[in-house]
Amino acid sequence: MPYCVSVDAKALGQRSFGRESVPRNISALRQVTSQGICDGLPDGCFARTVTQVSQISSVVMEGICYDMYSCIGYGKVVEMKDAFDEKTERKTWMSLLSKAPAGRVATLLDAAMARPDFKWLRAPEIGSVMVQGRAGGTGAPFNIGEMTVTRCALTLPGGEVGHAYIQGRRKADAEAAALVDALMQGGAAGAVRTAVLEPLQAEQMIAKTARAQKAAATKVEFFTMARGED
């Protein structure tokens, strides 16, 4: 079964989302590449980066959204393996914004400040990207499936350019995420970080922990004479 993704038996809490560290024993599942999304990436680099895999499809999708940004900071084609350890600040907030639930970024942003004027470089548009996966470190790439992505790019009067790639058909969310990205590059970065990014991060952490706890509760301990541990 060359294209089969095996299922990890570990509790959810021990899996990784996005780009964080992964326990060694699921290394066979670590690589999923995203392809076919290089049309109009911000700096013209190819989005051929690695994301780490979870067996739950929605998490894979979020991971891809996140990773589409990983090349922004480099401005060049990123080698797959190098992409693993690189984590810039911008990637961190891009990840947060693309994983945020519907409407949340806009709510936080509007509560914090009046939206600045901006000009569209690319009005929000909806498209689909083919997500590719790879089973094992040497497995052949295969198509996991298509996902819907909303993207946009805008510029503030100060010249900062903000990009957004959001999973699903959510134009308003893409606009809010791009605004936050642009604001984070300017003078308002500190305020935006406190008002938008930190709450988002906290919420994400809570959701992740709750889910891990739910999964951990289903863990079954078997009584055996020898568990192979000693």
């Binding site: 290089c38 109009g40 700096d43 470089l121 690319r122 010249g159």
Partner: protein, 196 residues
Amino acid sequence: MHAQTLSGGFETPPVDSAHAFRAVMEAMARPGQIKDISGAQPPAPLSAAAGSVLLTLCDTDTPIYLAGDADTDDVRAWLAFHTGAPLTGPSQAMFAVGRWEALVPLQGYQIGTSEYPDRSATLIVECTELTTSGANLSGPGIKSRAALSLPELDAFQSNRGLFPLGLDFIFTCGGQVAALPRSTIVSAPEGAMEVS
């Protein structure tokens, strides 16, 4: 990355690119006719017409060769943002853009293969002026006679000799576009023939 290098794409991509495509298609179908094309404002030195053609026809599957002074950082960034097309040299390019002097010699471009004559390059030639006078054109899409201000004759005549292989040409100037497909027979202007 500056905002001004990234602006200047199609305002409403579906509508603008359909209009631009129509202009290119009609120009290609009727060699010698000049059509208006607009929508894009690319960074200098690209003309609005060349920019519109590139935005309409290029995507991630069409490598582009930027010849001569068309190869600037602004143009590269603009193309990358709006089309995602990779940049290559002449031998790999599906599209090449630049002034005629920068694009020649034509031997370096792909002319297609017998099995796949469509795998050939399309050259977008930036002209200082574009008029319906000059070299005589005949062939498919031309009812009686047509003429176009071509930068030279020999190159287009030998390109016609490769048919059904060969290169296709799109001439751009400001907001205007004309085309010379490989099927068109190019001959010297009539006045010049009388002299010789």
